[in-house]
Amino acid sequence: MKVFIDPPNSLILFDLIERFGHEPLSTMAALQERVDNIEIDMPPMNVTLDDVIKGLKYAGIEVPSGIRGRLAVWGPLIEEADAAVVMEGAPFSFGCVGCERSNLMVKYLLQRRNIPVLYVTYPEDEEQGKLVVAKVKEFLQGLDKKEAN
């Protein structure tokens, strides 16, 4: 199944999703597609004016361009997702989208999708870390069962 991760650029979440047999929907993949597209030349991320305008689907014109540009990258991934794993309270070094308003909007869009979402809290120690991994594993295996049914 396609599982959206939040923060969308978390390498740890990406790895967990992949490790347990699902397809992670992440910033890396979305931007890789843009960066590899040699027809576009809008460095560094090839987020174009068209993308920012497409972001109007998620937020109005009065919303700063940086937010609309971000939502244009993550919005389609959320729409595509069958499930999501959200790490709450994570420091920016764990992964982030740079803008707190965009973070809030990503979480809101996920909620509106009505798909299975696992919310886990950022672990403070090894013990909590193991529990988080176990919860993610259980959630992802549960998705397999759903898919099988």
Binding site: D41, M42, P43, P44, M45, V47, T48, L49, D51, V52, I53, E62, V63, P64, S65, G66, I67, R68, G69, R70, V73, F92, S93, C96, G98, C99, E100, R101
Partner: protein, 409 residues
């Protein structure tokens, strides 16, 4: 090949707004390159703590950490460009406080900007060029006296001005509304030369500035072709005889406004507004046209009026004129309406431009609009102190051009 000027970019949202390429293009076109102070993730929290403002958005934290690198001299840059998304309140707070932080801790020139996704390199060109000029032409900008026989041409959006100077004195001057850029400049230069009793072949150097500077520079084979932010600053401090110490220059132009802070005649921070015609000289022209008076008379009406009697507080020239029509319809006097129009422009300059620089005293008001006594009075009322309006204040750009071009002799 000369080393490129390094402009440190502190920003949030540029890469997701499709404008990063435009920023870099603008820098490249004026012989500069954009650089990003190196920061390790471990430094960010300490930098934010030191700065004292802890924003929620991580990219703003990164901006702060980069600024701290510059403030501590750990990263080498020549100038600073601070940019955040238009309409983001959190970023606007950080942008302005970082500008102040950089100025308090370094001598680097700074320019701030809030962008939309429609930003084009051409909109940044004058600002980037000014940053480069301040860095690359330090010695030229330190020039306080004009020497030899030189001329300055200022091709503005509304008017074209020419000044001929000899041995640090203005000996010829002329201005006219801008039509064809070259024809207008030729005409005013001829008039100024006639007044000075000199011919084109006698001129040792010409300096051009304003929107038409490149065209005029090529046409007249000018020794100096330079943006109006630095040139106008030099002209303003020369005319006001404030070459030393600090000052704030307010130049309300036909199409955009400039607020520039200077230290010993050299600008170190500036802001340039051009989003709304409601805060420019163009609005004065529109008001005068609606009142069916000449724009030069508007100020005389305004000083006799009371702005409080007429409501006009629009941020847009179209709505401003609507306010004006409504107010006239209510039977308010021309004097009150003219005063309200001047007050509206002054308030917008205060709210839009002067919030992005730290106002230093004295305040020098220049440009064609400084001949409008009503606008000067309004600026004084809004700022709480009357600005200095030097003689020939409308010729700042041309004087700056003549003064700086003499540095090439």
């Amino acid at each position: 090949m000369a080393e490129l000027i390094k402009i440190a970019q502190l920003s949030c949202g540029t890469e997701y707004s499709s404008v990063q390429y435009e920023i870099e293009k603008a820098a490249r076109s004026v012989g500069a390159k954009i650089v990003y102070p190196d920061v390790s993730a471990a430094d960010i929290n300490a930098a934010v703590e030191r700065f004292g403002f802890n924003p929620r958005s991580p990219q703003l934290k990164l901006m702060i950490a980069r600024a701290v690198q510059l403030a501590d001299g750990l990263y080498d840059a020549d100038a600073v460009f601070i940019a955040t998304c238009f309409r983001c309140a959190e970023a606007a707070l950080v942008r302005n406080e970082l500008r102040r932080f950089i100025q308090e801790n370094t001598r680097l020139p700074v320019v701030t900007y809030s962008f939309t996704e429609r930003l084009k390199a051409s909109q940044l060109l004058t600002r980037m060029e000014a940053l480069v000029t301040i860095v690359a032409r330090k010695e030229l900008l330190a020039r306080e006296k004009q020497s030899g026989l030189t001329a300055g041409l200022d091709s503005g959006s509304s008017t074209t001005k020419a000044v001929v100077m000899q041995d640090n004195k203005i000996i010829g001057k002329a201005w006219m509304p801008t039509g064809d850029v070259v024809e207008s400049a030729t005409s005013v230069l001829e008039e100024a030369m006639k007044m000075a009793g000199v011919e084109l072949k006698d001129l040792e150097a010409i300096g051009t500035t304003g929107y038409g500077r490149f065209t005029l520079g090529k046409h007249f084979n000018a020794k100096l072709v330079q943006e109006e932010l630095t040139v106008n600053s030099k002209g303003a401090v020369w005319l006001a005889d404030r070459q030393r110490g600090e000052a704030t220059i307010i130049d309300i132009g036909g199409m955009d406004n400039k607020a520039i802070t200077v230290r010993d005649g050299v600008p170190d921070n500036f802001t340039m507004g051009g989003v709304c015609a409601g805060a420019s000289g163009r609005f004065m022209e529109m008001t005068a046209r609606r009142l069916k008076i000449d724009v030069s008379e508007l100020g005389n009406y305004a000083v006799k009026g009371n702005w409080k009697n007429a409501k006009m507080n629009s941020y847009c020239s179209v709505f401003g004129i609507q306010d004006l029509v409504t107010t006239l319809g209510e039977g308010k006097s021309f004097e009150d309406v003219a005063a309200a129009a001047c007050h509206s422009v002054a308030e917008q300059v205060y709210e839009q431009q002067l919030q992005e620089v730290d106002v230093r005293h004295p305040i020098i008001q220049v440009g064609g609009t400084s001949l409008n006594a009503g606008l000067v009075k309004a600026i004084g009322e809004v700022l709480g102190e009357p600005p200095i309006v030097p003689e020939n204040s409308q010729f700042i750009g041309a004087v700056g051009g003549a003064l700086l071009s003499s540095g090439f002799l």
